[in-house]
């Protein structure tokens, strides 16, 4: 399930609901991404996030389908905030349930790598020193490349 949210959400409550509907799954992995208040040498006051309505959701749906093709997992939950966020607020929450934990861990890891580098979101930090649009770190690009290397191996 994909949800783009313009208002804050409570990851704990979302996990409770997801877990109650997880049927006979033995493993549930969740990832929560939050706004950090302190970046290198600056203090973030607001993180602004935008997306491409309709298109972002559709591509996330395709990402979920791809994950379900790669691992034996149930339908994942992806919640992503847009709008103005304050430090400490949840940005993204991903839940994956599966019979076994390896599948749940890997699929959650995979979904996050793609969310960081391919999903249609843009974010701007508004700091004490001004504004700047964020781009993925080199680390994010090498993280997502792992999944292609694995394809080649197999």
């Amino acid at each position: 399930m994909i949800r783009i949210s313009t208002s804050p959400f409570d990851p704990g409550r979302e996990l409770s609901v997801f877990e109650k509907n997880a049927g006979d799954a033995g493993a549930v992995v969740s990832f929560l991404g939050r706004v950090r208040g302190e970046e290198t040498e600056t203090v973030v006051t607001v993180l602004y996030l935008e997306h491409y309505p309709g298109v972002t959701e559709r591509m996330l749906g395709e990402l979920e389908t791809e994950a379900r093709g790669r691992w034996a997992i149930d339908e994942p939950l992806i919640i992503h905030r847009v709008g103005d966020l304050k430090p400490g607020e949840p940005i993204v929450f991903v839940c994956v349930s599966a019979r076994h934990r390896r599948d749940a861990f890997e699929a959650a890891d995979f979904l996050m790598d793609y969310l960081k580098t391919k999903a249609l979101f843009w974010k701007k930090e508004i700091t004490s020193d001004g504004e700047r649009w964020i781009e993925p770190r080199m680390q994010d690009y090498s993280d997502v490349a792992r999944w292609n290397e694995r394809d080649k191996d197999s």
Partner: protein, 82 residues
């Protein structure tokens, strides 16, 4: 009128996220569309031509680069979700 969408820093440069543009006979593809936009704004034109900028026509990636007056064209700088 074609509908042009700018995201992220491109929206800041364009002074808005959306623009309606008459695409006449002189604009048949993406390159010519960018040339048209660049006429009025060198800085924005240069930003749109950056290699890292992706384009989506009518909500589909890689649906060719032909442009007509009924299209929605979105310019996307590098994404940063999560």
């Amino acid at each position: 009128m074609a509908r042009i969408l700018f995201f992220g820093r491109l929206a800041d440069l364009a002074g808005g996220r959306e623009r309606e543009l008459h695409v006449g006979d002189s604009v048949r593809n993406l390159r010519e569309l960018v040339d048209l936009i660049a006429k009025g704004d060198d800085t924005l034109g240069a930003a749109l031509r950056e290699k890292s900028v992706q384009t989506i026509i009518n909500e589909r990636i890689s649906s060719g680069d032909a442009i007509s007056d009924s299209d929605e064209i979105a310019f996307l700088p590098p994404v940063s979700g999560g």
